[in-house]
Symmetry: C2
Subunit: 506 residues, 2 copies
Amino acid sequence: MPATSEFYAELIERQKKTSLLGSCSAVLGWDEQVNLPPAGGEHRAGQLALLAGMAHEQATHPRIGELLSELEAADDLGDEGSTAQINVKHARRYYDRDTKLPQQLVEELSRVTTLSQQAWVEARKNSDYSAFEPWLTKALGLKREEAEAIGYGDGQPYDALLDDYEPGATAASIQAAFNPLRDELVPLVAAIRESGRQPDTTIITRSYPVDAQRQLGIEAATAIGFCFNSGRLDIAAHPFCSGFGPGDCRLTTRYDEHHFPGAFFGTLHEAGHGIYEQGLNKDSFGTAMGQTVSLGIHESQSRMWENLVGRSPAFWQHFFPKAQAAFPAALSEVTQEEFHWAVNDVRPSFIRVEADEVTYNLHIMLRFELEQAMLTGDLKPAELPGVWNETFTRYFGITPDDDSNGCLQDIHWSAGLLGYFPTYALGNMYAAQFFDTADEELGGLHDQFARGEFLPLKNWLNEKIHQPGKQFSAGELVEHVTGKPLSHEPLMKHLRTRFGALYGLD
Amino acid sequence: MPATSEFYAELIERQKKTSLLGSCSAVLGWDEQVNLPPAGGEHRAGQLALLAGMAHEQATHPRIGELLSELEAADDLGDEGSTAQINVKHARRYYDRDTKLPQQLVEELSRVTTLSQQAWVEARKNSDYSAFEPWLTKALGLKREEAEAIGYGDGQPYDALLDDYEPGATAASIQAAFNPLRDELVPLVAAIRESGRQPDTTIITRSYPVDAQRQLGIEAATAIGFCFNSGRLDIAAHPFCSGFGPGDCRLTTRYDEHHFPGAFFGTLHEAGHGIYEQGLNKDSFGTAMGQTVSLGIHESQSRMWENLVGRSPAFWQHFFPKAQAAFPAALSEVTQEEFHWAVNDVRPSFIRVEADEVTYNLHIMLRFELEQAMLTGDLKPAELPGVWNETFTRYFGITPDDDSNGCLQDIHWSAGLLGYFPTYALGNMYAAQFFDTADEELGGLHDQFARGEFLPLKNWLNEKIHQPGKQFSAGELVEHVTGKPLSHEPLMKHLRTRFGALYGLD
């Protein structure tokens, strides 16, 4: 009978193989978004389904269950918190989750969400909610089945879905974090709206030639520490970051000649994700210790570089002369202060992905509220557009003009991604709390930014957040790094400071 | 016990799955050449090795052997020549070939050729043959093992290797085709050299802006029938074509601002390969009936569009005004005749991939001769540089100045690709013979080209060469389409006609 170390080695080898196969799918997925010829969609779907099936087969192989039982019964895996303990704990979590889902449900979910996304594209284009409603109903039914198969202890079905994106979080814990945030955000939005001061936003819609946008984006991403020797930046309709593995992380963005912030902050955002991926422990690839913590922690990295760094006055103290040189026609007569305010314009708007830093979190809370109600059945799909618009009006003071600008705007529900939205707002809160601690420990980050020094923060994130992999859960990591549990206060303090100054609030 | 049709359906399903997995590797291989960040090489090698291992496992699954035995014993697969018969015949061929190779040899070949290619890159850069020789020796040893494992009947080990690229061909059959070709090529080369007339080749090394080269290349590839709705054109250091499957075929080329023909004819060449891939029967993907015949037939398609079409006077009657418009600085004072001659310059040169249409085949014959002698052991790796230079001098009348321009110039031997070279010259012969028949059947191709009409030829190739898949072997296809066995005469007739006119030969 082999010693525990041999069982462990076999488990790790199987995990690495499954991750490696997953990374092949990631290459095909990236290529689908960046390069696929129009007629190649069907073949690509077949390729991805094949790889997904093979990966599921590998991940649910009964031998993994045997290995886990042997390892869990053994007493020589080291102390709690040892690499071996952590890898085994997460391997158990993945294995249980994967084996609890009946193959038939996995396939049906894949089939329905593929068709549902196609229906959503059309429905959104035509602002025709009725064409999408039957697909949403189907997807909800399957996601309920998924939640039941996985189980949710004393909690609610939503927790089972959330656990896939933000392990350890529950609907109740997120609600507890969101409530005080909302209570303070709503009056801040009102105060900004009533301040009477407005930036000149025509500055950012002048002509910004795309080549120069790309060059400046690459310069900024490089400055904050994204490594182009181990990565790329390409164009895609829906910007994303995909880390294939050690030495290969791909960012995408999209350019609009007449809207500077979209691509620039989008590039910083994706570079933030990319810096996390590039900061993982390479030798641990494929195991928990070489994986990101959660979607919320991932988003904390992208939002930190996009907003806390990229939209700070100090950042533009360094970068505005470069922007002026890159876009002389648009910016030669503009001051740094005018430009900085224009890229920090706050106003209620319909579309989440275009929202400013202040109103963004309200978009998330709206979705979190409605998707919970749809999952329990309290909110019927037929009632969604009405309830969306009513809640939106309550939060923002404006009412969507049609469903394309309302409940049809996001792809997530059509793709079966229920429980995904709250991780965006969690990311904003994590980011602000991490940033405060970094600022204390590194002493005056904004002075560093003004001098173009971004690597101290990047290296701090590498050490504190990236290298530990899944050693801590998201909640544990926040406490471990900042000494305090997650709180809305750092984010609110940041928003009040930045926007209080811009809009002249008390 | 299931009926034969069920065995057959299972066999086809397994073949399609293996092809689909192979097409995933092809995407990763393409991406490696086109997009891979410098640091991503090791991870990519791991991904490709994993997929190759899984594909080999699928291709050698014992169930395939069982299915083949059942199907071969049955008598209801239809007539000889039926789709089922052909698919089963080729499935047997693949299965036997794959299962004959010991897993250990497959892995050792993969390992050695990966390292050997790295050694070759360095050796070529430094023109240091001694650094490459040990790798060549190792590769030769393994390829001999491969040939013995596969077997070669009454023939010679070379046949077993050749069979992987040009099924049905033997060293003897190729020698028989090459001998008369060489006998007539050598005096033609001499006559051209002695003619005293030379084109002005400075025309084609003027400034040709890369963007305009790309545009004209895409226009030409589109005109000859490559479909960009189902394909792309990108940049890679080593141009190639990769057909992933229905709706997705990728071409690559490389641009040199000061050398027009490289990218332009390279694009036509790869588009020729791509038109073949795009012309395959989509519903037969993954089975013999949806696969290309051989490397030689594949090369016949690329060389036909590159040379027989793309370097013809008629082609430039249509395209020269477009080229003048695209490159006014380089071409406004140049006549169509001067330009056409410049892109048809014939002169002995060291590098195969830069060789003109006439001397090209001599480069191939040299390699065919030497690789056979190395495989038998008659030529020792240590003697290669000397024998290369001596044979080269005999064929071309010039002697390579160093081994980088001699026996180190091609990647093939370092990659274990012995038996591959002759397919290039076979392609030239097939191309000329097919072209003659098309010209007869379609009536005056050159008049059509001069009017910009290339689709009649493309559609004829679709019907005669592409749609039948592997219904015929290469030799059978030539006879079936042209009514005659393969001959060197159509190629020599073409070369004498084209270059006799340009160089004023009798």
